[in-house]
């Protein structure tokens, strides 16, 4: 009862939860994008600086 009352948000549940979910989703997407780019850049640099290790890991 209390939980459903909380999620109902005085009848504005759709608007309130949508905006928080979308907002958080955008922040999480940017976070993920930044981390994945950081990782791929670091890997590429490693491959350039230590070409041998790269070949080992490929094999």
């Amino acid at each position: 009862m209390v939980m459903s009352h909380f999620f109902n948000m005085g009848g504005y549940a759709f608007y309130i939860w949508s905006s928080w979910i979308i907002g958080m989703a955008i922040l999480i997407a940017i976070t993920w994008h930044s981390f994945s780019h950081a990782r791929s850049a670091r890997n590429e640099l490693d491959a350039l600086e230590h070409p041998k290790q790269q070949r080992d890991s490929d094999a």
Partner: protein, 242 residues
Amino acid sequence: MLMFDYLANPTRFRKITTAIFPVAVLVSAIALTFGLYLAFFASPADYQQGDTVRIMYIHVPAAWMAMMCYLLMALSAVFYLVWRHPLADIGARAMALPGAGFALITLLTGSFWGRPMWGTWWVWDARLTSMLILFFLYLGYMALADGFERAERGSKPASLLLLVGVINLPIIKFSVDWWNTLHQGSSVLRLDGPSIDPAMLKPLLIMALAMLGWFIAITILRMNTLIIRRRITNLESRKSWS
């Protein structure tokens, strides 16, 4: 300027940012937890807006961040164009995507607030239009900065665009404000109407702190990525020369 000279050394920059990064992440996480609690449990529903006021706790801080981020980028552009320091350009580039994200969050959450409160998803209100234009300016900057074959070729025009944008933003804001008074009738209800309750100000500020921490951490991460990318292009061009 002094700070920039100090940070100019890449290893020193790396050392300082690796020290700041975990602090920013920690501050952001704690503030987010606390802010969510305040926003959803420990704050009252507004007597006029009802529970939709809880949208404000993500909407308003995002709007602050979107504006602050653009100003920081413009400041970096000045540093870059005047003192030609690549780190300033890297900073502006790193901030562009988070800034655009904040502008987008502001627009979307504002829309979700406007639907129940104003009865429409969008009104051509002065504030809304200015934020939309800010979002376009972010997109324009990103497109221009990354729009050239050689990555660094876009730096100067894009920095120049940031400065033009910063001069134009007040003009745009003024013109839209003024246009809005011409087309009266849309903005009846506004957040800045009644003075804000401290019980609502607190979650607002805490959420702003959470976003600031996130922004700092992400900017550091993206700056380091861009620095690595430049080193990669340098190494590759050296390789092709040798």
